[in-house]
C-alpha cells in the first residue's frame, strides 16, 4: 500500500483537526464547540455538497452509468443491513442487532465529504451524481432495520401499527438531513439551469468556505468521537471487531461493484466510502424513536466512535490504494 497516500491524508488540515479533537479529549482539556455551533457546520456542509452536486448533475446530465450507479447504491443500502443483521444477531438481541445493522446500511456524509476533498488534493475527478447516491443511500436502511425488528422480534407490542409505519416512512425520507441534502441538490440543479448568475453569487459561500468549515466540524467530530470511545467497555470485543472489519468488507464489495460498473477512479472511491461508512446522524435519531428497546450507546459508539475515525484516518487512503491498484486512471 502506498505510504504517501496515508501521509497525505493524515497531514491534511481536516484530518489534523480531527486528530486535535481526539487529542483534546485524551488530554482531558475543556475544549468544546458548544451546541448549536456544530449544527451550523453540519447544516452548512449538507447544503454546500447539495448545491455542488446539483450543479454538476446539471453539467453532466443523467447518462446510463448514472442510473446503474444509483441502482447499485440502492441495492447496497438494502443488502448491507440484512447481512450485517445476520452477523450481529449471533451476539445481540433483535433490537440491538437491527439498530446497529441499520447504521451500517446507511452512510456518513462527513466521511463522503472528506473523501471528496482527498480526491481534490490528488487532483482526481468524480461525478456530481455521486451526491445523489449519497442521498439515496441514507434512508433505506432505516426501513430495513425496522422491518427486521418486526419480522424477527418475539411478540411485538401491537400498538397502532399502521400509524407507526407512517411515522417511520416519514422519519426515513423526510428527516432533516435527507431533506436538506435533496433540497439543496434540486436547488443547485434548478439554479444552474435557470439562474446561473444567482448560483455564481452563491459559490463564494458554498465553495470557498467549504474546506475550512469541514476542518472546523471535524475538530468537533474528533471531540465527540473520542467521548464515545470512553464507552468502549460497554461495547464489547465483538462489536469493536465488527466496527473495524465491516468497513473493510463493505468497502471491498463496493470496489467489486465499481469494477463491474466500470466506474472511474474518483467515483469508485466515493462508492467504496459510501458502502464502508456508517450513519451516526439520521439512523440513530430514527432508531431512538422507533426501536427504543435498542441501546443507543451500542449503535452510536460503534458507528461514531470506531468506524468513523477508522475511515477518516486509515480507511480513505486504504480504499484509494485499492482503487489505484484495480482501476486504471481516467
Amino acid at each position: 500500500m502506498n505510504a504517501s497516500l496515508v501521509l497525505q491524508n493524515l497531514l491534511s488540515p481536516p484530518v489534523l483537526f480531527f486528530a486535535l479533537g481526539l487529542l483534546s479529549v485524551a488530554l482531558r482539556s475543556d475544549l468544546e464547540i458548544p451546541a448549536p455551533l456544530p449544527k451550523l457546520f453540519s447544516l452548512y456542509l449538507l447544503l454546500a455538497i447539495g448545491i455542488k452536486g446539483g450543479m454538476e448533475l446539471h453539467a453532466s446530465g443523467l447518462g446510463g452509468a448514472v442510473l446503474l450507479t444509483l441502482l447499485a447504491s440502492l441495492a447496497m443500502a438494502v443488502l448491507v443491513p440484512i447481512s450485517s443483521f445476520a452477523v450481529l444477531r449471533t451476539r445481540f438481541d433483535t433490537y440491538n442487532a437491527a439498530a446497529v445493522a441499520a447504521a451500517y446500511g446507511s452512510i456518513s456524509a462527513v466521511t463522503f465529504i472528506t473523501a471528496e476533498t482527498f480526491l481534490g488534493a490528488l487532483g482526481i475527478d468524480f461525478d456530481g451524481f455521486m451526491v445523489a447516491a449519497l442521498a439515496l443511500m441514507e434512508s433505506p436502511a432505516i426501513i430495513i432495520g425496522l422491518l427486521l425488528v418486526r419480522l424477527t422480534a418475539p411478540g411485538q407490542p401491537g400498538r397502532a401499527e399502521g400509524l407507526r409505519w407512517g411515522a417511520l416512512l416519514h422519519e426515513a425520507f423526510l428527516n432533516s438531513s435527507v431533506l436538506l441534502l435533496v433540497g439543496s441538490l434540486l436547488i443547485g440543479y434548478l439554479s444552474a439551469a435557470f439562474s446561473p448568475a444567482g448560483l455564481n453569487k452563491l459559490l463564494p459561500f458554498t465553495e470557498q468556505l467549504f474546506y475550512g468549515a469541514l476542518s472546523f466540524f471535524l475538530l468537533d467530530m474528533g471531540i465527540v468521537a473520542a467521548q464515545r470511545l470512553r464507552e468502549l467497555k460497554e461495547t464489547g470485543a465483538f462489536l469493536i471487531g465488527f466496527s473495524l472489519l465491516a468497513p473493510l468488507l463493505h468497502g471491498a464489495v463496493g470496489l467489486g461493484v465499481s469494477l463491474l460498473l466500470q466506474l472511474p477512479q474518483g467515483d469508485a472511491l466515493l462508492f467504496m466510502v459510501l458502502c464502508a461508512s456508517a450513519s451516526y446522524i439520521a439512523v440513530p435519531a430514527a432508531m431512538r424513536m422507533t426501536v427504543p428497546q435498542a441501546n443507543p450507546s451500542l449503535y452510536i459508539t460503534s458507528s461514531l466512535g470506531l468506524t468513523f475515525p477508522f475511515n477518516i484516518v486509515v480507511g480513505i487512503p486504504l480504499y484509494m490504494a485499492a482503487v489505484q491498484r484495480f482501476i486504471p486512471p481516467g
Partner: protein, 96 residues
C-alpha cells in the same frame, strides 16, 4: 386559592413532541419546556454532543395543574415514560 400540583418530566428531546401532544390531550392547562438538558439516569449519560445529529439531549417539561386534572395526565404520561425512558415527579404547589 386551592393548592395545585406541579409535574416535572424529564425525557429525551426526541420524544418531546409526542409528550406534549399527550399532555394536551390529557387536559393539561399548559406546559413549559426547557431543552438542552443533560444528565444521567438508568440509560447512562446524556450529553449535548450529538445535538448536531438531531439526536438531541433531554428536555425538562413542567406542568402546573389542578389536583383533579392529575389523574388523566398520569394515565397518559406514565406509559410513555415506561416505553421510552425518562422520569416523572409530582409535588405540591400553590398559585402565587
Amino acid at each position: 386559592m386551592d393548592p395545585m400540583k406541579r409535574l416535572d418530566l424529564i425525557v429525551s428531546e426526541r420524544e418531546l413532541d409526542r409528550l406534549c401532544e399527550a399532555l394536551l390531550k390529557a387536559g393539561a392547562p399548559g406546559y413549559s419546556v426547557l431543552r438542552h438538558v443533560t444528565g444521567r439516569g438508568h440509560a447512562g449519560q446524556v450529553s449535548e454532543g450529538m445535538e448536531f445529529s438531531g439526536f438531541g439531549a433531554n428536555a425538562h417539561v413542567i406542568v402546573f395543574c389542578q389536583r383533579d386534572e392529575l389523574e388523566a395526565i398520569r394515565a397518559a404520561i406514565n406509559p410513555l415514560l415506561d416505553y421510552y425512558g425518562g422520569v416523572g415527579f409530582v409535588s405540591e404547589t400553590n398559585p402565587l
